[in-house]
């Protein structure tokens, strides 16, 4: 356990100092800060555009960090032979790999938190989308109900109305905070896939495979919906009026079943409309992401334990 902790700290420090990490972080921060200018292209819903644009920037750059650093975190160690000294210390290979992976996860959390803070400050300066919190005035969104239950717009408006109180401070609305959490889970998840691929193939191919998995995982549920038979009720009977090719349907269904569904981590629409996410949905999606990540990491560990490092 101690070795894993040291590994995490070492790995985090190394990733934090890497050029690729800085480049992505700085570029994302520029985009988030620039979201104000993008929002000015619209006369209505400028806040929504800012949120959409910034969430996209935070998400995509964390995914890039996950993929590109995930594919190189162990691969580069082996290629540059810096792993030789580390792994010949009295540490188990699993400990080494866990340290490297969790160090990367810590770097992803670090970058997401920084990006979310900058995003928060941009929203604070623009005074858009932030929620006033008044001390001793009860829960901030006490009147609001889940977006997936009966959402009460009237209560919601009341809850988000800025009071004239001297000690008011502002926070991000719940769906934006949850979106930040989902971005972390999604990025760590894809980095686990990139790490796994990097153990069996080259760094470039591992990155390409991870990008493909991410892309397919984002569209697979929509594809699956598209190939579902179209049914109509004609004269009281359910009749299939249109059905895609059976082979195509099976392939799409297989991909949908086997590959992870990344689209569930994208709640930018809910965030843009300030719809609260119910705790059940948050819990289910977190468990989904974490279970998949753990599974991928266990496979990586099994492969790494048997790998000849030369």
């Amino acid at each position: 356990m101690k070795n894993i902790l040291y590994g995490i700290m070492y790995s985090f420090k190394e990733i934090k100092n890497s050029k690729i990490f800085y480049s992505f972080l700085i570029f994302a921060l520029i985009l988030i800060s620039g979201s104000y200018f993008v929002s000015q292209t619209s006369f209505i819903n400028q806040g929504r555009i800012m949120v959409d644009f910034s969430i996209f920037a935070i998400s995509i750059f964390n995914i890039f960090i996950g993929i590109f650093i995930g594919a190189s975190v162990v691969y580069d160690d082996v290629e540059k032979k810096s792993i030789f000294i580390g792994i010949t210390r009295p540490v188990k290979r699993t400990e080494y790999l866990t340290g490297r992976f969790l160090g990367l996860a810590a770097a992803i959390i670090f970058s997401t938190v920084i990006m979310m803070f900058i995003f928060y400050f941009v929203l604070l300066i623009m005074h858009k989308f932030i929620v006033p919190v008044v001390p001793n005035a009860g829960a901030v969104v006490s009147g609001a109900k889940s977006a997936h239950n009966n959402f009460n717009l009237q209560n919601r408006s009341a809850a988000y109305a800025a009071p004239n109180h001297p000690f008011t401070f502002y926070m991000l609305p719940q769906p934006l905070i949850i979106q930040g959490l989902f971005i972390i889970i999604e990025s760590i998840f894809i980095s686990a896939a990139a790490l796994l691929f990097s153990l069996v193939t080259s760094k470039a191919l591992a990155s390409i495979f991870a990008i493909l998995i991410f892309f397919i995982g984002n569209v697979s549920s929509r594809m699956n919906d598209l190939v579902k038979p179209v049914k109509k009720i004609i004269k009281g009977k359910v009749v299939i009026v249109n059905q895609a090719n059976h082979i195509l349907t099976s392939i799409v269904h297989f991909i949908y079943t086997v590959l992870p569904n990344f689209s569930i981590f994208n709640i930018s629409s809910e965030a843009a409309y300030k719809l609260d996410i119910s705790s059940g949905i948050i819990f289910y999606r977190l468990i989904y992401g974490i279970s998949y990540t753990v599974l991928l990491f266990i496979i990586s560990s099994l492969l790494f334990a048997r790998k000849d490092i030369s």
């Binding site: 700290m9 190394e14 032979k81 030789f84 188990k92 000849d308």
Partner: protein, 259 residues
């Protein structure tokens, strides 16, 4: 201390995964408190053998035990320090940060003074606050040496420790090995430079084409070399090699090479 028994290592090469033996039926015991030189031409299988000993690669057949533990078991490396050939370290970290991290991975408490002593012995103390990727090859080699000797391990395994070093660096490195030898460390090092043999070793093992062709202590092998020189009556000492031992080892490798 280190027991290598009937070890074979093959790699799959080419499209059809043809088996190619890198090491063949190697048996070797490395005694405690002695310096064993592992000599052989390029591609003989020296680095592969060393990587099997330190647990980087797994033997296809046979067994390697260090202090009774299988070489793949992390406990085998509790008292082992390893200096790889052409070592490298991650970018962006200072020398002191790197050695601190590796010191923490040893299952014992290492204080600051021990770390400084290792850095001083390796001659890299002055650059401890410089980022390791800015080091020269010699400096990187020294930092790797400092990492390998931290925690005062009983067994030290050096893979081509003198390769790529300038004459001054070689001399200083040899002095460090002598110091470690005085401390009765078990040192196993590989080299293809025959001149290192007499100076440093108590025992010499020669590997050619993955097969161990000689494993003797220095005295015996020197006697054999003297007899060989007498038989050949050929004066080659003024050429590439300066001692009968070097000539003997050179001819031994040449005779056993496949092509």
């Amino acid at each position: 201390m280190i027991e290598i028994k009937n070890v074979t290592k093959y790699f799959r090469v080419g499209f059809f995964g043809t088996r190619k033996n890198a090491v063949e039926d190697l048996s070797l015991d490395i005694d405690g408190g002695k310096v064993t030189g592992f000599f052989g031409p390029n591609g003989a299988g020296k680095s592969t053998t060393i990587k099997m000993i330190v647990g980087l690669i797994k033997a296809s057949k046979g067994s390697i035990k260090i202090n009774g533990y299988d070489s793949f078991d992390y406990r085998a490396r509790l008292k082992l320090g390893y200096l790889p050939e052409n070592p490298s370290f991650p970018r962006g970290l200072k020398g002191i940060e790197i050695i601190n991290y590796y010191a923490k991975l040893l299952n014992k408490k290492i204080n600051k003074n021990e770390i400084y002593d290792a850095l001083k012995l390796a001659g890299i103390f002055y650059a401890k606050n410089t980022q390791a990727h800015k080091y020269s090859k010699g400096m990187t080699q020294r930092l790797a040496l400092a990492v390998s000797i931290i925690g005062d391990p009983e067994i030290l395994i050096f893979d081509e420790p003198l390769s790529g070093l300038d004459p001054i660096g070689r001399k200083e490195f040899k002095d460090i090995i002598f110091k470690l030898k005085e401390r009765k460390k078990t040192i196993f090092f590989s080299s293809h430079v025959l001149a290192d043999s007499k100076e440093l070793c108590d025992r010499i093992a020669v590997l050619v084409n993955g097969r161990l062709i000689k494993n003797e202590n220095l005295e015996n092998i020197e006697k054999e070399a003297a007899v060989y020189a007498e038989e050949k009556k050929e004066d080659r000492l003024s050429g590439e090699y300066n001692t009968p031992l070097e000539v003997y080892l050179y001819d031994l490798m040449l005779k056993n090479r496949k092509n």
